[in-house]
């Protein structure tokens, strides 16, 4: 766990860069986290997913899977891979300032 600074505010993130305390996140931090991860600009479509991730996490205590995102977020899976390359569910969670999605078994 390390403390880093985002938009001049210290935040705690785990070794992979996921927020430990989602309440430390602010909307303005999202752009900076996105850039750290190779996503240059956050469009409305990105925000639709980010807001959905955050809302789901805060309501249910767990981050939605890629399958859930494809079904419920309003953004199809193919597009999710274009918006958040390689690992959409993980990357969107990181930018949304919520802990790493726990793969169930």
């Amino acid at each position: 766990m390390t403390t880093t600074t985002l938009t001049d505010t210290p935040v705690e993130r785990d070794a992979e860069g996921f927020f430990v305390h989602p309440e430390q996140w602010t909307e303005t931090m999202a752009d900076e986290i996105a850039r750290e991860n190779g996503v240059d600009t956050l469009t409305d479509r990105h925000w639709q997913v980010i807001n959905f991730m955050r809302r789901t996490y805060l309501e249910t205590g767990s981050a939605p899977s890629i399958r859930t995102l494809g079904k419920v977020s309003g953004v199809p899976i193919k597009e999710l891979y274009q918006l958040f390359p390689k690992r959409p569910a993980k990357l969107a969670a990181k930018i949304a300032g919520i802990p790493k999605p726990r793969g169930c078994i």
């Binding site: 899977s65 193919k78 891979y81 169930c104």
Partner: protein, 421 residues
Amino acid sequence: MRPRIVIIGGGTAGTLTANRLRRVYGDSAHITVVDRDDRHVYQPGMLFVPFGLTDPGRLVRSRRAQLHEGVELRLAEVDRIEPAEDKVYLDAGEAIPYDVLVIATGAALLPEETEGLTGPGWQERVFTFYTLDGAVALRDALRKFEAGRLVVNMIDVPVKCPVAPLEFCFLADWHFRQRGIRDRVHIDYVTSLDGAFTKATCNRELSGLLADKGIEVTTEFNTGQVDGPGGRLVSWDDREVPFDLLVTIPLHGGSAIIGRSPGLGDEIGFVPIDRATLQADAAANVFAIGDATNVPTSKAGSVAHFEGETLVENIRRFLDGRELEPSFDGHTNCFIETGFHKALLIDFNYETEPLPGVFPEPHLGPLRLLRESRLNHLGKLAFEWVYWHVLLPGRPMPGITAQMQLAGKDLDASAIERSTR
């Protein structure tokens, strides 16, 4: 007042729940199980069918015969549950009222949810052993398979028995070695996960075994499309894996009954419940057990068995107007067949990763955890008898408690993953 308890589903979880409730209540509760047919399949046996290691006919028995004679079995299709009315509606329109409802509807396979999976090539070069018919068809295809790429694809979690795809790879390796053609068959295990298995300690042991047996592992592959005629898997991010024979583990979801029942299921049809009491979020008099729930542990018969104790106690408490007991800890216990008459055994719960050690008795064992042994394999074979004669009747297993025990396990603090929830 004789409470009316209705259980939807006469599989592993529903059957053991009915029999346990009958033992507690005798004639003082009316217990009804609803299922669409009278065929109870011993699902752990399906893994062995493709290799000719078991006869498919012996895996199926009557559901009726597994239930205590004081339990009513209704053979009917359920349309939906109306939790606000405390009623289960059957397809024919009849409503069954309940005081307590137990949802034991299991998990459903959704192969049609993956583009192309059930298209051309399905049951010709694309198979699954997750149904009995599929396992038989795969057996016939494997017999004729002489050379080429065998791909085993776990499309995404959650799935029933998440170790079964790995066991299939191990048994396939053994099968082709016995036939003397292992050098002509390439086996590739393709998974959406970032390792062979999600539990870190277990992943280490299993990855070593896969490497020793020359089984390739392709991770973080999210299958978007299956091209049967072209023999390739295509991921959402346009990677490809070629195959000559594909063994797929299709996407799973909850039962369609849950999808038709207002407010009961999550977006893929599993029932959100309290993970320690098993009470449904949707209604205080609704509980769920086994594969039908959303609890973060394996979908496995052992889980249903361990949940059974908590469930029956909490149904009693609910009917008596007492507080529920948060006693289910996520306990899971799985044998993992590794071929050559050997198996591994793992034992874990919500908070503790599978650890090495001995089981069930500290020091004595006799089974070894997280290590291959012949005795573990014999344990797996013996489990078939235990399933019909101890687990389904809802009897306790001698020496094996519902809560996971740390005694007997090699405790390395770093290996204990504390749940963040």
